[in-house]
């Protein structure tokens, strides 16, 4: 896995990234904040921030969605890209922004207590 490189970016191409090395097993977040922001579940994997190379930084907008947490999106096309606990040294990246194939599977569902009422959340 050490030689692995992941690439991805937003819909318009205004923001692109590369991540060196392995990615954490992804999770699906059902919380109200993620569902409101994404219009979808929040599907994220994770890697240390220093393993990212981000191009098009001027197109990347950050929104502090709760104290110490910020979400990064492309200001041109609105694509959702990053979630960060500020100062953690780690950066979450949306599964949907990764150039396919990701080679990953969703391994857990979180915040099921806050799931939407318009679908049946998985029991796991």
């Amino acid at each position: 896995m050490s030689g692995r490189k992941t690439t991805g970016g937003c819909l318009c191409g205004g923001v692109r990234y590369e991540i060196d090395g392995p990615l954490a097993p992804p999770s699906a977040c059902h919380c109200g904040q993620c569902r409101r922001y994404h219009g979808a579940l929040g599907l994220y994997t994770l890697a240390p921030s220093e393993r990212y190379k981000i191009k098009g930084d001027r197109n990347l907008a950050w929104f502090e969605s709760s104290p110490g947490i910020r979400r990064g999106f492309c200001r041109v096309c609105g694509s959702k890209l990053f979630w960060e606990r500020i100062g953690s040294g780690q950066l979450d990246v949306t599964m949907g922004s990764i150039d396919p194939p990701s080679g990953l599977k969703i391994v857990k569902h979180i915040h099921l207590e806050d799931a939407g009422d318009y679908y049946d959340p998985p029991s796991r």
């Binding site: 409101r36 219009g39 979808a40 929104f63 979400r71 096309c77 949306t94 679908y119």
Partner: protein, 147 residues
């Protein structure tokens, strides 16, 4: 700048309300809402970061407040996507010339009274995207299903 298609809402009782994550954009829908459809196409996946869940309504039944914060991105010749320029929340997908707008179910207040009924563009599904709910799956669009 005024956005064509945005109206002051239709007649009748309010069916649903919603807002973006930061609250700068509020929406109100009167009349009926379509059942929820999950789209697995590559464009939706990138823009939302995951396969989105959309309901739909005629524009004439939708009221938008805080419209100056609503930014549109023309993602293809057929459609544009509306999101909040402040917080990035995805709210709308608008097919050109149909007089309707698809509304992200995630922005609506509970109880939504909505049910998910099918998955579309399953032929474009990503490798990490597993459908386990047993609902109908269409390989591409749902031309026969309208608002």
């Amino acid at each position: 700048m005024a956005q064509s298609g945005i109206s002051e809402g239709g007649k009748g009782a309010v069916r649903a309300t919603g807002h973006c994550l930061c609250g700068a954009i509020e929406i109100e829908i009167r009349g009926k809402l379509r059942d929820v459809v999950v789209c697995h196409c590559g464009q939706c996946r990138r823009q939302h970061g995951a396969p989105p869940s959309y309901t739909s309504a005629p524009w004439s039944n939708v009221t938008v407040r805080g419209e100056k914060n609503l930014k549109w991105y023309q993602s293809s010749a057929q459609a544009r996507r509306g999101f909040c320029r402040l917080c990035g929340s995805s709210l709308f997908w608008e097919p050109v010339g149909e007089g309707r707008v698809a509304i992200a179910a995630g922005c609506l207040e509970k109880p939504t009274g909505l049910r998910t009924v099918r998955h579309i563009f399953v032929a474009e599904k990503a490798d990490f995207d597993e459908i386990t709910d047993g609902l109908e799956q269409l390989p591409h669009s749902m031309a026969a299903v309208t608002a």
